[in-house]
């Protein structure tokens, strides 16, 4: 691990992105726009007194899901390009360590994700008056960890795609089941045993659980930290798997 090479990689990935204004706009603006749509979707719901708005539940979870989905897509395509254009093979003939590359990517996209979730969280709080008990800083923290998870999965999945078209097809395989089973649509304790067991091993589940903790408690609970630790551990594990897909020598 060489800190300078990692930083050089982060800087390189960010400057690649900087030339791509459209992607930056998509990353920063789209989540806020979708959040707006969700707000107006539930605008006219009639609630018994004391029951929280659906927006406070669904909007909050979306704040965690956006960075996961977006960073998964951005990373898997970027890494696939790196693999197919020959730059990866070339890099692996230099002294750079695989971890410098992977963490370089991780840091770059996590920075983007932090920006993205700051924008989306600000919109949720200030424009639509998101009403939860916990502090917004925790929401941003969970969003960033989710982004790292998306980056790790993207780096890993890019090894199994040969074209960008295939890479995009991993989204329904890897991302959609997690969204379905994370507790957004049906509470996890009301799923059948099989689905609940699957949802127990899907990383996104832990971020939704963490957000529910933030929504219900003013201070960070130990369950929140357990969820955060689980997500961080899974992300690191997937990054290690991704490192194994980077081969200096091919057969």
């Amino acid at each position: 691990m060489d800190f300078l090479m990692m930083l050089a990689t982060t800087r390189r990935v960010l400057s690649q992105l900087r030339h791509d204004h459209r992607s930056i706009a998509l990353i920063l603006v789209v989540p806020a726009m979708l959040l707006t749509a969700v707000y107006f979707l539930y605008e006219n719901e009639s609630l018994p007194p004391g029951v929280p708005r659906t927006f406070d539940r669904v909007g909050l979870m979306m704040l965690a899901i956006f960075p996961f989905v977006v960073m998964f897509l951005v990373t898997s395509i970027t890494m696939l390009r790196e693999r197919t254009s020959g730059t990866l093979e070339r890099l692996l003939t230099t002294p750079v360590h695989k971890a410098d590359l992977l963490f370089g990517y991780g840091v770059a996209f996590s920075l983007m994700a932090a920006l993205q979730s700051l924008v989306a969280t600000a919109v949720a709080y200030w424009i639509f008056g998101l009403d939860i008990v916990g502090a917004p800083a925790y929401v941003v923290l969970i969003a960033v960890i989710n982004a790292v998870l998306g980056v790790a999965l993207g780096l890993f999945c890019s090894a199994f795609a040969r074209t960008e078209f295939q890479a995009v097809q991993f989204m329904p395989v890897v991302v959609v089941p997690q969204i379905l089973l994370c507790g957004l649509f049906v509470a996890r304790d009301r799923m059948n045993d099989l689905l609940e067991a699957i949802s127990n091993v899907l990383p996104l589940t832990y971020s939704v659980d963490a957000l529910q903790e933030v929504a219900a408690h003013a201070e960070a609970t130990s369950r929140l930290w357990q969820d955060v630790a689980a997500m961080a551990g899974i992300s690191l594990g997937i990054l290690v798997l991704a490192a194994l897909t980077l081969r200096r020598r091919t057969a």
Binding site: A8, R11, Q16, H19, G86, E89, T94
Partner: protein
């Protein structure tokens, strides 16, 4: 760069081989591509790797830079087995299709690959100047012409000041002026002590090399100088000479043994 010479254990001078292969066999998947190749590339000169497309040139180069697993035999680079971690600091590789980032500027590309070798601003500026791209340094690589992108890719290797530079068809798609210019640069680098291995399927470029490795269908047809090639192939046109050698080899039987000019002269097969 005082750490370069000592730890690799190769004596400096003409007789130390930069690359030495012995009975080298390489498969791509299950397909055998190199079928037992022996050669030795002297340090500090330009060695041309020539042969029809599909003869195994790129595979041989990828093996030397450590990107390709070998199936048998040995290949040593600067005194160490190819692919050894210490060699990553010493060996530069320029792939056939330019492997650079199109969405970065020329400078950002060279800076990034330089950073992988802990090289700073001066080296970056030098490398860009060496390929004549100073006026375009701040342009996005995607906006450059094909030949210019090739030169960006070359600069990304030069920035590391490698002792061995492996170039896969570096002059493809370049106009004659640029091509001549690039060969002058290769010559200057060789004079300064760099070992260059340059592949080409344009036989006319062979005359610019010190030594030639002639590869055909995964076997080494011969290792010789351009002068020896034209003598053994009975033509001053190196392409004709190469074709004549291939025909002679086919005539001599299926098992083509690499041979020196001396041994060929002794048994008189080519005369």
């Amino acid at each position: 760069m005082s750490h370069l010479a000592a730890p690799l254990g190769t004596a400096r001078g003409q007789d130390a081989a930069a690359v030495a292969a012995s009975a080298l066999r390489v498969n791509l998947g299950r397909r055998p591509v190199l079928l037992g190749v022996d050669f030795s590339i002297p340090a500090g000169g330009i060695t041309g790797l020539l042969g029809p497309s599909g003869s195994g040139k790129t595979t041989l180069m990828r093996t030397i830079v450590g990107a390709q697993r070998i199936a048998g035999g040995t290949v040593e680079v600067l005194g160490l087995p190819a692919g050894t971690a210490a060699l990553r600091r010493q060996v530069g590789y320029v792939t056939q299709s330019p492997s650079v980032y199109p969405d970065l500027t020329v400078e950002a590309n060279v800076r990034y690959f330089g950073a992988m070798h802990r090289k700073g601003k001066t080296d970056v500026a030098e490398a860009i100047a060496a390929v004549g791209l100073e006026p375009l340094a701040r342009r996005k690589t995607a906006d450059l012409s094909g030949g210019q992108v090739n030169r960006v890719s070359l600069a990304c290797a030069l920035v590391a000041h490698p002792r061995l530079l492996v170039l896969d068809e570096p002059t493809v798609g370049l106009d004659p002026v640029l091509r001549a210019d690039l060969w002058e640069r290769f010559r200057a680098m060789a004079r300064a002590g760099t070992t260059l291995l340059v592949s080409s399927h344009v036989m006319e470029e062979a005359s610019r090399c010190d030594t030639l490795l002639l590869l055909r269908e995964g076997r080494l047809l011969a290792q010789l100088t351009p002068a020896e090639l034209s003598r053994r192939g009975h033509s001053s046109n190196l392409e004709q000479a190469f074709l004549a050698m291939i025909q002679a080899a086919d005539h001599a039987g299926t098992a083509v043994e690499p041979e020196t000019a001396e041994s060929a002269r002794r048994d008189g097969r080519l005369h």
